[in-house]
Protein backbone atom coordinates (compact mmCIF):
# COMPACT_ATOMS: atom_id res chain seq x y z
CA UNK A 1 0.00 0.00 0.00
CA UNK A 2 2.82 2.29 1.01
CA UNK A 3 4.58 1.64 -2.26
CA UNK A 4 1.53 2.68 -4.24
CA UNK A 5 1.18 5.88 -2.22
CA UNK A 6 4.90 6.58 -2.68
CA UNK A 7 4.59 5.87 -6.38
CA UNK A 8 1.81 8.38 -6.79
CA UNK A 9 3.72 10.86 -4.65
CA UNK A 10 6.61 10.48 -7.09
CA UNK A 11 4.24 10.97 -10.01
CA UNK A 12 2.77 14.15 -8.58
CA UNK A 13 6.04 15.66 -7.32
CA UNK A 14 6.41 18.90 -9.32
CA UNK A 15 10.21 18.45 -9.30
CA UNK A 16 9.77 15.45 -11.56
CA UNK A 17 7.78 17.43 -14.11
CA UNK A 18 10.33 20.11 -15.03
CA UNK A 19 13.89 20.24 -16.25
CA UNK A 20 16.12 17.86 -18.17
CA UNK A 21 15.07 14.23 -17.96
CA UNK A 22 11.68 15.15 -16.47
CA UNK A 23 8.50 13.12 -16.91
CA UNK A 24 7.07 15.15 -19.86
CA UNK A 25 10.39 14.92 -21.71
CA UNK A 26 10.61 11.14 -21.17
CA UNK A 27 6.96 10.68 -22.17
CA UNK A 28 7.50 12.51 -25.44
CA UNK A 29 10.71 10.56 -26.11
CA UNK A 30 8.91 7.31 -25.39
CA UNK A 31 6.01 8.17 -27.66
CA UNK A 32 8.27 9.37 -30.48
CA UNK A 33 10.52 6.34 -30.47
CA UNK A 34 7.43 4.08 -30.32
CA UNK A 35 5.89 5.83 -33.32
CA UNK A 36 9.13 5.61 -35.27
CA UNK A 37 9.36 1.89 -34.57
CA UNK A 38 5.72 1.37 -35.56
CA UNK A 39 6.34 3.28 -38.80
CA UNK A 40 9.42 1.24 -39.73
CA UNK A 41 7.79 -2.05 -38.82
CA UNK A 42 4.65 -1.04 -40.71
CA UNK A 43 6.60 -0.16 -43.86
CA UNK A 44 8.14 -3.62 -43.76
CA UNK A 45 5.26 -5.78 -42.56
CA UNK A 46 2.15 -4.27 -44.13
CA UNK A 47 3.15 -4.49 -47.83
CA UNK A 48 4.32 -8.06 -47.29
CA UNK A 49 1.13 -8.95 -45.42
CA UNK A 50 -1.09 -7.35 -48.05
CA UNK A 51 0.71 -9.19 -50.82
CA UNK A 52 0.26 -12.50 -49.02
CA UNK A 53 -3.42 -11.77 -48.29
CA UNK A 54 -4.15 -10.54 -51.82
CA UNK A 55 -2.43 -13.32 -53.69
CA UNK A 56 -3.06 -16.04 -51.12
CA UNK A 57 0.55 -17.18 -51.65
CA UNK A 58 3.23 -17.60 -49.02
CA UNK A 59 0.87 -17.82 -46.09
CA UNK A 60 2.49 -20.95 -44.67
CA UNK A 61 5.86 -19.26 -44.74
CA UNK A 62 4.47 -16.09 -43.17
CA UNK A 63 2.86 -18.06 -40.34
CA UNK A 64 6.11 -19.90 -39.67
CA UNK A 65 8.24 -16.76 -39.81
CA UNK A 66 5.95 -14.65 -37.64
CA UNK A 67 5.64 -17.51 -35.15
CA UNK A 68 9.40 -17.77 -34.99
CA UNK A 69 9.82 -14.02 -34.64
CA UNK A 70 7.36 -13.91 -31.77
CA UNK A 71 9.56 -16.37 -29.91
CA UNK A 72 12.65 -14.12 -30.07
CA UNK A 73 13.40 -12.66 -26.65
CA UNK A 74 13.60 -8.91 -27.18
CA UNK A 75 16.23 -8.24 -24.51
CA UNK A 76 18.49 -10.93 -25.99
CA UNK A 77 18.05 -9.52 -29.47
CA UNK A 78 18.71 -6.03 -28.16
CA UNK A 79 21.99 -7.15 -26.59
CA UNK A 80 23.05 -8.87 -29.80
CA UNK A 81 22.10 -5.84 -31.86
CA UNK A 82 23.94 -3.49 -29.52
CA UNK A 83 27.06 -5.64 -29.72
CA UNK A 84 26.87 -5.14 -33.46
CA UNK A 85 25.60 -1.55 -33.71
CA UNK A 86 27.03 -0.19 -30.46
CA UNK A 87 25.09 1.66 -27.79
CA UNK A 88 22.49 4.23 -28.72
CA UNK A 89 18.98 4.07 -30.13
CA UNK A 90 19.69 1.96 -33.21
CA UNK A 91 19.85 -1.36 -31.38
CA UNK A 92 16.60 -0.98 -29.40
CA UNK A 93 14.81 0.25 -32.53
CA UNK A 94 15.96 -2.83 -34.42
CA UNK A 95 14.91 -5.17 -31.60
CA UNK A 96 11.50 -3.55 -31.25
CA UNK A 97 10.87 -3.54 -35.00
CA UNK A 98 11.36 -7.30 -34.88
CA UNK A 99 8.89 -7.42 -31.99
CA UNK A 100 6.30 -5.38 -33.91
CA UNK A 101 6.44 -7.16 -37.25
CA UNK A 102 4.51 -10.36 -36.35
CA UNK A 103 1.25 -8.70 -35.22
CA UNK A 104 1.36 -6.25 -38.13
CA UNK A 105 1.99 -8.99 -40.67
CA UNK A 106 -0.65 -11.27 -39.18
CA UNK A 107 -3.20 -8.44 -39.11
CA UNK A 108 -2.51 -7.57 -42.74
CA UNK A 109 -2.78 -11.02 -44.25
CA UNK A 110 -5.56 -12.36 -42.09
CA UNK A 111 -7.49 -9.14 -42.67
CA UNK A 112 -7.39 -9.58 -46.41
CA UNK A 113 -8.02 -13.27 -46.05
CA UNK A 114 -11.20 -12.60 -44.10
CA UNK A 115 -12.84 -10.80 -47.00
CA UNK A 116 -15.65 -12.94 -48.35
CA UNK A 117 -14.65 -14.77 -51.53
CA UNK A 118 -18.06 -14.06 -53.06
CA UNK A 119 -17.52 -10.34 -52.66
CA UNK A 120 -14.17 -10.66 -54.43
CA UNK A 121 -15.74 -12.76 -57.17
CA UNK A 122 -18.39 -10.08 -57.60
CA UNK A 123 -15.69 -7.39 -57.78
CA UNK A 124 -13.87 -9.44 -60.38
CA UNK A 125 -17.14 -9.97 -62.19
CA UNK A 126 -17.82 -6.25 -62.58
CA UNK A 127 -14.37 -5.90 -64.12
CA UNK A 128 -12.27 -4.46 -61.29
CA UNK A 129 -8.50 -4.90 -61.68
CA UNK A 130 -6.33 -6.43 -58.98
CA UNK A 131 -5.31 -3.01 -57.68
CA UNK A 132 -8.90 -1.77 -57.74
CA UNK A 133 -10.04 -4.82 -55.84
CA UNK A 134 -7.28 -4.25 -53.28
CA UNK A 135 -7.92 -0.56 -52.68
CA UNK A 136 -11.70 -0.55 -53.24
CA UNK A 137 -12.80 -3.84 -51.70
CA UNK A 138 -10.17 -5.72 -49.72
CA UNK A 139 -8.62 -2.80 -47.87
CA UNK A 140 -11.87 -1.17 -46.64
CA UNK A 141 -13.41 -4.49 -45.65
CA UNK A 142 -10.29 -5.69 -43.85
CA UNK A 143 -9.49 -2.34 -42.24
CA UNK A 144 -10.73 -3.25 -38.74
CA UNK A 145 -8.51 -6.33 -38.63
CA UNK A 146 -5.49 -4.57 -40.15
CA UNK A 147 -5.89 -1.75 -37.63
CA UNK A 148 -6.29 -4.40 -34.95
CA UNK A 149 -2.84 -5.70 -35.89
CA UNK A 150 -1.39 -2.18 -35.75
CA UNK A 151 -3.10 -1.67 -32.39
CA UNK A 152 -1.60 -4.82 -30.96
CA UNK A 153 1.85 -3.91 -32.30
CA UNK A 154 1.60 -0.39 -30.85
CA UNK A 155 0.67 -1.78 -27.45
CA UNK A 156 3.63 -4.15 -27.45
CA UNK A 157 6.04 -1.48 -28.64
CA UNK A 158 5.04 1.07 -26.00
CA UNK A 159 5.18 -1.52 -23.24
CA UNK A 160 8.59 -2.79 -24.36
CA UNK A 161 10.16 0.51 -25.47
CA UNK A 162 11.39 0.88 -21.88
CA UNK A 163 14.27 -1.23 -23.19
CA UNK A 164 15.46 1.76 -25.23
CA UNK A 165 16.96 2.99 -21.97
CA UNK A 166 19.08 -0.16 -21.80
CA UNK A 167 21.58 1.36 -24.19
CA UNK A 168 20.62 5.01 -24.46
CA UNK A 169 19.49 8.03 -22.50
CA UNK A 170 15.95 7.76 -23.84
CA UNK A 171 12.37 7.12 -22.81
CA UNK A 172 10.46 6.14 -19.71
CA UNK A 173 12.71 3.14 -19.16
CA UNK A 174 15.28 5.51 -17.64
CA UNK A 175 13.05 5.93 -14.57
CA UNK A 176 12.37 2.20 -14.40
CA UNK A 177 15.99 1.09 -14.57
CA UNK A 178 17.19 3.74 -12.17
CA UNK A 179 14.37 3.02 -9.73
CA UNK A 180 15.02 -0.70 -9.77
CA UNK A 181 18.78 -0.40 -9.39
CA UNK A 182 18.68 2.10 -6.53
CA UNK A 183 15.83 0.33 -4.70
CA UNK A 184 13.73 3.44 -5.35
CA UNK A 185 10.60 1.43 -6.00
CA UNK A 186 8.39 4.52 -5.88
CA UNK A 187 10.17 5.79 -8.98
CA UNK A 188 9.99 2.39 -10.67
CA UNK A 189 6.32 2.11 -9.82
CA UNK A 190 5.58 5.64 -11.03
CA UNK A 191 7.38 4.92 -14.30
CA UNK A 192 5.43 1.69 -14.73
CA UNK A 193 2.17 3.60 -14.22
CA UNK A 194 3.23 6.10 -16.88
CA UNK A 195 4.06 3.33 -19.35
CA UNK A 196 0.71 1.64 -18.67
CA UNK A 197 -1.19 4.93 -19.03
CA UNK A 198 0.55 5.71 -22.31
CA UNK A 199 -0.08 2.21 -23.62
CA UNK A 200 -3.77 2.32 -22.68
CA UNK A 201 -4.21 5.77 -24.18
CA UNK A 202 -2.72 4.74 -27.51
CA UNK A 203 -4.62 1.46 -27.40
CA UNK A 204 -7.86 3.40 -26.82
CA UNK A 205 -7.15 5.65 -29.81
CA UNK A 206 -6.59 2.64 -32.03
CA UNK A 207 -9.77 1.02 -30.67
CA UNK A 208 -11.70 4.08 -31.79
CA UNK A 209 -9.96 4.02 -35.17
CA UNK A 210 -10.87 0.37 -35.48
CA UNK A 211 -14.50 1.09 -34.76
CA UNK A 212 -14.74 3.94 -37.25
CA UNK A 213 -12.88 1.99 -39.91
CA UNK A 214 -15.79 -0.39 -40.41
CA UNK A 215 -17.24 0.59 -43.82
CA UNK A 216 -20.65 2.24 -43.70
CA UNK A 217 -22.20 -0.51 -45.82
CA UNK A 218 -21.01 -3.16 -43.40
CA UNK A 219 -22.33 -1.23 -40.43
CA UNK A 220 -25.72 -0.83 -42.08
CA UNK A 221 -25.83 -4.50 -42.94
CA UNK A 222 -24.86 -5.42 -39.39
CA UNK A 223 -27.60 -3.36 -37.81
CA UNK A 224 -30.13 -5.15 -40.04
CA UNK A 225 -28.65 -8.54 -39.25
CA UNK A 226 -29.01 -9.11 -35.53
CA UNK A 227 -28.57 -12.88 -35.75
CA UNK A 228 -24.91 -12.77 -36.78
CA UNK A 229 -22.56 -14.09 -34.17
CA UNK A 230 -20.31 -11.89 -32.08
CA UNK A 231 -17.30 -13.85 -33.25
CA UNK A 232 -18.13 -12.99 -36.83
CA UNK A 233 -18.38 -9.37 -35.96
CA UNK A 234 -15.12 -9.39 -34.05
CA UNK A 235 -13.20 -10.75 -36.98
CA UNK A 236 -15.03 -8.50 -39.39
CA UNK A 237 -16.29 -11.50 -41.31
CA UNK A 238 -19.32 -10.40 -43.16
CA UNK A 239 -21.59 -11.58 -45.89
CA UNK A 240 -22.94 -8.21 -46.76
CA UNK A 241 -23.68 -7.13 -50.28
CA UNK A 242 -21.37 -4.23 -51.03
Amino acid sequence: MNLIADGFAWLTDPANWTGAGSIPERLVEHLLVSLLILLIAGLIALPVGFTIGHTGRGKGLAVAVTGGMRAIPTLGLLTLAALWLGIGLAAPILALVVLAIPPLLAGAYSGLESVDRRVLDAAKGVGMTGLQRFTGVELPLSAPIVIGGIRSAALQIIATATLAAYTSDFGLGRFLFRGLKTNDYAEAFGAAVLVIALALLVDGLFALAQRFSVPVGVRVARSGEPTRSAADRATGRTTTNV
Binding site: L83, G86, I87, T167, S168, D169, R174
Partner: protein, 307 residues
Protein backbone atom coordinates in the same frame (compact mmCIF):
# COMPACT_ATOMS: atom_id res chain seq x y z
CA UNK B 1 35.81 -64.05 11.22
CA UNK B 2 38.76 -61.82 11.87
CA UNK B 3 39.53 -61.35 8.21
CA UNK B 4 35.85 -60.78 7.41
CA UNK B 5 35.70 -57.94 9.92
CA UNK B 6 38.88 -56.51 8.48
CA UNK B 7 37.51 -56.69 4.96
CA UNK B 8 34.33 -55.05 6.05
CA UNK B 9 36.28 -52.28 7.76
CA UNK B 10 38.39 -51.76 4.66
CA UNK B 11 35.32 -51.61 2.48
CA UNK B 12 33.70 -49.09 4.78
CA UNK B 13 36.86 -47.01 4.74
CA UNK B 14 36.93 -47.08 0.96
CA UNK B 15 33.24 -46.14 0.85
CA UNK B 16 33.67 -43.24 3.23
CA UNK B 17 36.76 -42.14 1.37
CA UNK B 18 34.89 -42.27 -1.91
CA UNK B 19 32.04 -40.22 -0.52
CA UNK B 20 34.42 -37.66 0.92
CA UNK B 21 36.21 -37.50 -2.41
CA UNK B 22 32.90 -37.10 -4.19
CA UNK B 23 31.91 -34.37 -1.80
CA UNK B 24 35.25 -32.76 -2.50
CA UNK B 25 34.55 -32.73 -6.22
CA UNK B 26 31.19 -31.49 -5.14
CA UNK B 27 27.85 -31.20 -6.69
CA UNK B 28 24.77 -29.35 -5.68
CA UNK B 29 23.05 -32.59 -4.74
CA UNK B 30 22.77 -32.45 -0.95
CA UNK B 31 22.34 -36.24 -0.70
CA UNK B 32 25.92 -36.89 -1.75
CA UNK B 33 27.39 -35.20 1.27
CA UNK B 34 25.49 -37.25 3.86
CA UNK B 35 28.32 -39.51 5.01
CA UNK B 36 30.94 -36.83 5.60
CA UNK B 37 29.89 -35.80 9.06
CA UNK B 38 32.85 -35.86 11.39
CA UNK B 39 32.36 -32.09 11.94
CA UNK B 40 29.85 -30.37 14.13
CA UNK B 41 27.11 -32.65 12.87
CA UNK B 42 24.89 -29.77 11.88
CA UNK B 43 24.47 -28.96 8.21
CA UNK B 44 25.75 -25.53 7.21
CA UNK B 45 23.66 -23.79 4.57
CA UNK B 46 25.86 -21.85 2.15
CA UNK B 47 24.16 -19.33 -0.10
CA UNK B 48 25.33 -17.25 -3.03
CA UNK B 49 24.21 -14.29 -5.11
CA UNK B 50 23.03 -14.73 -8.64
CA UNK B 51 26.48 -13.64 -9.79
CA UNK B 52 29.01 -16.09 -11.17
CA UNK B 53 31.95 -14.76 -9.18
CA UNK B 54 30.00 -14.90 -5.92
CA UNK B 55 29.01 -18.48 -6.68
CA UNK B 56 32.66 -19.45 -7.13
CA UNK B 57 33.51 -18.00 -3.70
CA UNK B 58 30.50 -19.74 -2.13
CA UNK B 59 31.60 -23.01 -3.72
CA UNK B 60 35.09 -22.52 -2.26
CA UNK B 61 33.53 -22.01 1.19
CA UNK B 62 31.38 -25.11 0.71
CA UNK B 63 34.25 -27.32 -0.40
CA UNK B 64 36.48 -26.00 2.38
CA UNK B 65 33.79 -26.96 4.90
CA UNK B 66 33.44 -30.39 3.36
CA UNK B 67 37.20 -30.93 3.41
CA UNK B 68 36.98 -30.28 7.15
CA UNK B 69 34.17 -32.71 7.75
CA UNK B 70 31.16 -30.41 7.72
CA UNK B 71 27.94 -31.16 5.92
CA UNK B 72 26.95 -28.49 3.46
CA UNK B 73 23.64 -27.57 1.89
CA UNK B 74 24.22 -25.35 -1.15
CA UNK B 75 21.62 -22.69 -1.86
CA UNK B 76 23.29 -20.88 -4.73
CA UNK B 77 22.19 -18.21 -7.16
CA UNK B 78 19.51 -16.87 -4.86
CA UNK B 79 19.33 -13.45 -6.47
CA UNK B 80 20.03 -9.95 -5.34
CA UNK B 81 20.57 -8.59 -1.87
CA UNK B 82 16.95 -7.61 -1.23
CA UNK B 83 15.98 -11.23 -1.74
CA UNK B 84 18.59 -13.06 0.28
CA UNK B 85 19.34 -10.65 3.12
CA UNK B 86 16.07 -11.46 4.94
CA UNK B 87 16.88 -15.18 4.48
CA UNK B 88 20.23 -14.76 6.24
CA UNK B 89 18.64 -12.69 9.00
CA UNK B 90 15.97 -15.34 9.55
CA UNK B 91 18.64 -18.03 9.93
CA UNK B 92 17.68 -19.96 6.80
CA UNK B 93 21.20 -19.43 5.46
CA UNK B 94 24.34 -19.74 7.60
CA UNK B 95 27.17 -18.61 5.34
CA UNK B 96 27.11 -16.08 2.54
CA UNK B 97 30.00 -14.50 0.62
CA UNK B 98 29.49 -10.76 0.64
CA UNK B 99 31.27 -7.54 -0.23
CA UNK B 100 31.93 -5.15 2.67
CA UNK B 101 31.17 -1.82 0.98
CA UNK B 102 28.13 -2.88 -0.97
CA UNK B 103 26.62 -4.67 2.01
CA UNK B 104 27.29 -1.70 4.28
CA UNK B 105 25.56 0.56 1.79
CA UNK B 106 22.56 -1.77 1.74
CA UNK B 107 22.36 -1.89 5.54
CA UNK B 108 23.10 1.76 6.23
CA UNK B 109 22.73 4.18 3.35
CA UNK B 110 23.99 7.06 5.47
CA UNK B 111 27.47 5.54 5.87
CA UNK B 112 30.17 7.82 4.50
CA UNK B 113 33.34 5.77 5.08
CA UNK B 114 35.10 4.44 1.99
CA UNK B 115 38.46 3.11 3.21
CA UNK B 116 38.68 -0.67 3.54
CA UNK B 117 39.26 -1.08 7.31
CA UNK B 118 36.82 1.70 8.19
CA UNK B 119 34.20 0.08 5.98
CA UNK B 120 34.78 -3.28 7.65
CA UNK B 121 34.42 -1.72 11.12
CA UNK B 122 31.26 0.11 10.12
CA UNK B 123 29.89 -3.10 8.66
CA UNK B 124 30.40 -5.11 11.86
CA UNK B 125 28.44 -2.36 13.66
CA UNK B 126 25.68 -2.28 11.08
CA UNK B 127 25.05 -6.03 10.85
CA UNK B 128 21.79 -7.12 12.41
CA UNK B 129 21.65 -9.22 15.58
CA UNK B 130 22.81 -12.81 15.11
CA UNK B 131 25.01 -12.14 12.09
CA UNK B 132 28.78 -11.76 12.07
CA UNK B 133 31.32 -10.72 9.50
CA UNK B 134 34.40 -12.96 9.65
CA UNK B 135 37.85 -11.78 8.54
CA UNK B 136 37.72 -9.91 5.29
CA UNK B 137 39.80 -11.04 2.36
CA UNK B 138 42.19 -8.74 0.55
CA UNK B 139 40.28 -9.62 -2.63
CA UNK B 140 37.93 -6.85 -3.69
CA UNK B 141 35.12 -6.63 -6.17
CA UNK B 142 34.19 -2.99 -6.27
CA UNK B 143 33.34 -0.26 -8.73
CA UNK B 144 36.34 1.11 -10.60
CA UNK B 145 36.86 3.60 -13.39
CA UNK B 146 38.57 2.23 -16.47
CA UNK B 147 39.84 3.68 -19.74
CA UNK B 148 41.42 2.06 -22.76
CA UNK B 149 45.20 1.68 -22.74
CA UNK B 150 45.43 3.99 -25.77
CA UNK B 151 43.41 6.72 -24.08
CA UNK B 152 45.45 6.40 -20.89
CA UNK B 153 48.66 6.77 -22.88
CA UNK B 154 47.39 9.68 -24.95
CA UNK B 155 46.51 11.74 -21.88
CA UNK B 156 49.03 10.22 -19.47
CA UNK B 157 46.39 8.93 -17.08
CA UNK B 158 47.23 7.09 -13.84
CA UNK B 159 44.79 8.48 -11.29
CA UNK B 160 41.18 9.52 -11.68
CA UNK B 161 42.26 13.12 -11.04
CA UNK B 162 44.44 13.04 -14.18
CA UNK B 163 41.21 13.09 -16.20
CA UNK B 164 41.01 16.82 -15.42
CA UNK B 165 43.84 17.31 -17.96
CA UNK B 166 41.82 15.78 -20.79
CA UNK B 167 40.71 18.61 -23.02
CA UNK B 168 38.10 16.71 -25.03
CA UNK B 169 34.63 16.16 -23.63
CA UNK B 170 34.44 13.00 -21.51
CA UNK B 171 31.47 10.66 -21.36
CA UNK B 172 31.06 8.15 -18.59
CA UNK B 173 29.19 4.92 -19.30
CA UNK B 174 27.56 2.70 -16.69
CA UNK B 175 24.29 1.58 -15.14
CA UNK B 176 21.74 4.36 -14.84
CA UNK B 177 22.03 4.53 -11.06
CA UNK B 178 25.67 5.60 -11.45
CA UNK B 179 24.42 9.01 -12.58
CA UNK B 180 23.18 9.79 -9.08
CA UNK B 181 25.57 7.72 -6.93
CA UNK B 182 28.09 9.70 -4.81
CA UNK B 183 30.97 8.21 -6.84
CA UNK B 184 29.27 9.07 -10.16
CA UNK B 185 29.53 12.37 -12.04
CA UNK B 186 28.78 14.47 -8.91
CA UNK B 187 31.65 12.83 -6.97
CA UNK B 188 34.04 13.05 -9.91
CA UNK B 189 33.36 16.75 -10.01
CA UNK B 190 33.57 17.49 -6.30
CA UNK B 191 36.43 15.13 -5.36
CA UNK B 192 38.62 15.21 -8.46
CA UNK B 193 37.38 18.27 -10.35
CA UNK B 194 36.57 16.15 -13.39
CA UNK B 195 33.50 17.02 -15.44
CA UNK B 196 31.88 14.19 -17.39
CA UNK B 197 28.77 13.58 -19.43
CA UNK B 198 26.81 10.41 -18.80
CA UNK B 199 25.44 7.61 -20.97
CA UNK B 200 23.43 4.83 -19.37
CA UNK B 201 24.37 1.29 -20.41
CA UNK B 202 22.35 -1.16 -18.36
CA UNK B 203 24.54 -4.25 -18.42
CA UNK B 204 26.61 -3.61 -15.28
CA UNK B 205 29.95 -3.23 -17.00
CA UNK B 206 29.24 -6.16 -19.33
CA UNK B 207 29.94 -6.62 -23.04
CA UNK B 208 27.91 -3.59 -24.19
CA UNK B 209 29.79 -1.30 -21.83
CA UNK B 210 33.10 -2.75 -23.03
CA UNK B 211 32.16 -2.30 -26.67
CA UNK B 212 31.07 1.30 -26.11
CA UNK B 213 34.44 2.01 -24.49
CA UNK B 214 36.52 0.26 -27.13
CA UNK B 215 34.50 1.94 -29.92
CA UNK B 216 35.05 5.32 -28.28
CA UNK B 217 31.35 6.04 -27.72
CA UNK B 218 32.26 6.60 -24.09
CA UNK B 219 35.75 7.31 -22.72
CA UNK B 220 35.31 6.15 -19.14
CA UNK B 221 33.41 3.16 -17.77
CA UNK B 222 32.56 1.68 -14.39
CA UNK B 223 33.54 -2.01 -14.28
CA UNK B 224 33.88 -4.21 -11.20
CA UNK B 225 37.52 -4.50 -10.24
CA UNK B 226 37.56 -8.32 -10.29
CA UNK B 227 36.21 -8.46 -13.85
CA UNK B 228 38.68 -10.41 -16.01
CA UNK B 229 37.61 -8.30 -18.99
CA UNK B 230 39.71 -5.43 -17.64
CA UNK B 231 42.86 -7.45 -18.26
CA UNK B 232 41.57 -9.23 -21.36
CA UNK B 233 40.80 -5.92 -23.09
CA UNK B 234 43.95 -4.22 -21.92
CA UNK B 235 42.04 -1.57 -19.98
CA UNK B 236 43.67 0.73 -17.46
CA UNK B 237 42.01 1.02 -14.06
CA UNK B 238 42.50 4.54 -12.76
CA UNK B 239 43.80 4.79 -9.22
CA UNK B 240 41.52 6.31 -6.62
CA UNK B 241 43.77 7.94 -3.98
CA UNK B 242 40.95 10.07 -2.55
CA UNK B 243 38.74 7.05 -1.84
CA UNK B 244 35.89 8.05 -4.14
CA UNK B 245 34.79 4.44 -4.37
CA UNK B 246 33.59 2.47 -1.43
CA UNK B 247 36.09 -0.31 -0.69
CA UNK B 248 34.34 -3.64 -1.08
CA UNK B 249 36.35 -6.62 0.13
CA UNK B 250 35.10 -10.17 -0.04
CA UNK B 251 33.85 -11.18 3.40
CA UNK B 252 31.87 -14.18 4.72
CA UNK B 253 28.71 -13.20 6.59
CA UNK B 254 27.78 -16.01 8.99
CA UNK B 255 25.11 -16.98 11.47
CA UNK B 256 25.57 -18.29 15.03
CA UNK B 257 25.62 -21.85 13.70
CA UNK B 258 29.13 -21.27 12.41
CA UNK B 259 31.34 -22.52 15.27
CA UNK B 260 35.01 -21.86 15.99
CA UNK B 261 36.22 -24.64 13.70
CA UNK B 262 34.09 -23.40 10.82
CA UNK B 263 35.20 -19.83 11.50
CA UNK B 264 38.82 -20.99 11.30
CA UNK B 265 38.12 -22.66 7.94
CA UNK B 266 36.64 -19.49 6.44
CA UNK B 267 39.37 -17.25 7.86
CA UNK B 268 41.99 -19.52 6.28
CA UNK B 269 40.21 -19.21 2.91
CA UNK B 270 39.87 -15.43 3.21
CA UNK B 271 43.56 -15.04 4.07
CA UNK B 272 44.57 -16.98 0.97
CA UNK B 273 42.19 -15.25 -1.44
CA UNK B 274 43.98 -12.27 -3.00
CA UNK B 275 42.66 -9.79 -5.58
CA UNK B 276 44.77 -11.41 -8.31
CA UNK B 277 43.47 -14.86 -7.44
CA UNK B 278 39.86 -13.65 -7.55
CA UNK B 279 40.42 -12.17 -11.02
CA UNK B 280 42.00 -15.40 -12.24
CA UNK B 281 39.15 -17.49 -10.78
CA UNK B 282 36.66 -15.22 -12.54
CA UNK B 283 38.65 -15.51 -15.75
CA UNK B 284 38.36 -19.29 -15.63
CA UNK B 285 34.60 -18.87 -15.52
CA UNK B 286 34.29 -16.12 -18.13
CA UNK B 287 36.97 -17.21 -20.60
CA UNK B 288 37.16 -20.98 -20.15
CA UNK B 289 33.55 -21.46 -19.04
CA UNK B 290 34.58 -23.83 -16.27
CA UNK B 291 31.99 -24.65 -13.61
CA UNK B 292 32.17 -23.12 -10.15
CA UNK B 293 32.80 -26.59 -8.69
CA UNK B 294 35.81 -27.25 -10.90
CA UNK B 295 37.25 -23.79 -10.39
CA UNK B 296 36.85 -24.00 -6.62
CA UNK B 297 38.32 -27.49 -6.22
CA UNK B 298 41.23 -26.70 -8.54
CA UNK B 299 42.11 -23.60 -6.56
CA UNK B 300 41.79 -25.27 -3.14
CA UNK B 301 44.12 -27.97 -4.34
CA UNK B 302 46.57 -25.56 -5.91
CA UNK B 303 46.62 -23.34 -2.82
CA UNK B 304 47.25 -26.43 -0.69
CA UNK B 305 44.51 -25.51 1.77
CA UNK B 306 43.12 -28.30 3.98
CA UNK B 307 45.08 -31.04 2.25
Amino acid sequence: MHTAARTRFALAAVAVGAVVALAGCSSSDPLETDAASSGSGETLVVGSQDYYSNEIIAEIYAQAFEANGFEVDRQFRIGQREVYLPEIESGAIDVFPEYTGNLLQALDDTATVTESTAVYDALTEALPEGLRALDQSSATDQDSYNVTAGFAEQWDLVEIGDLANVTEPLTLGGNSELETRPYGPPGLESVYGVTVGFTPIEDSGGPLTLKALVDGQVQLVDIYSADPNIEANDLVTLEDPEGLFLASNVVPIVSDKVDDTATEVLNTVSAALTPEILVSLNAQSVNDEDSAEDIASAWLEEAGLFS
